[in-house]
Point group: C2
Chain length 214, copies 2
Amino acid sequence: MRKTFDAELQELNAEMIDMAAAAEDVIDAVTQSLTSADHDAAKGAVEMTKHMDQMERDIENRCLRLLLQQQPVARDLRTISAALKMVTDLQRIGDQCANIAELSGLLGNPGSSQAMKDIRTMSQKAGIMVKRSIFAYANRDTSSAREVVDLDDEVDRLFQAVKHELVELIVNNRGEADQAIDLIIIAKYLERIADHAVNIAQWAIYCVTGELAG
Amino acid sequence: MRKTFDAELQELNAEMIDMAAAAEDVIDAVTQSLTSADHDAAKGAVEMTKHMDQMERDIENRCLRLLLQQQPVARDLRTISAALKMVTDLQRIGDQCANIAELSGLLGNPGSSQAMKDIRTMSQKAGIMVKRSIFAYANRDTSSAREVVDLDDEVDRLFQAVKHELVELIVNNRGEADQAIDLIIIAKYLERIADHAVNIAQWAIYCVTGELAG
């Protein structure tokens, strides 16, 4: 028996939430790998992103099938086309996490410098942004979506602070330059993760209002 | 009338070559934006990567359709599954170019420092790697594929040199630290583009030998 369109949309919702949960898990693993030079966490993060590639493909296929077979209009069309765009952002988040894990696997003792603390805070905030942006989509909650945009400003400020702190470190302690550069690149990836969360939040707003910001 | 399977494979080949050409064009635009602080080239690069997103989707759809309808075996199966993986790498190359363009659009006069020269060389080599890796796939030429792997070593060496040169710059001229950090991140993106070209080359080898290296 053919599933009803509503049931299909509910399944799509569930798949999106699953993929967002996977993105949160991988951000957690990456945060863990930054906290304690935990190389297993770094390896685990890379494995988790491979699973996200498959999730992306499954969701894309469902969306394309729904678009073709059901020719949805108005809000349903927005829901499906937004999902199609958002999975790309979720998948890119996975990519950035894999990139971070690759670098964090090479770090020595990450220590407890201010830069390291700020990087961990960036990582936590980025995780919250991803969670909240998908919550906004799943619950048609535009105020959560707007919170994500505000959080992005905090992440951007932290990125500037991290850069500044690490430039200080390079100037004062040349021997730590290599590690400092790796940390700057990690912070840049975290900043990109936050940007992807903002994209997701903007698609969530689009689902409700039909208007695409940004 | 239904197209023959061989005709479909030839079209797939042509689409892959087109997408590789698009990747080369966007790398050229990015190289241009690095050479002369050409902000139009940077903007153009971002636009070009959007077109690559659509190409990726079209090729993926063709591959999935061929896999489902034709149930290919042996070499044909390898050709199609390799294409499915390679488009992801081509698309990621587009992504990295967009990231570079975003940063290079913010650069002041890029100047003619050794680091800038090395970054341009990285960019040119990365472009050659992408071209050669797709040539290897399209012509089943494993020796071209292996050249790509060798070129990657050169790009990695240049990346280390760029980091070293820019750390020097930061230490000696604190006022240029921000631009130096942006250039290090750009060099990191170029290094990732070269990595994706290596992935493509390895898929090209897989098409011929059935063995996946790396």
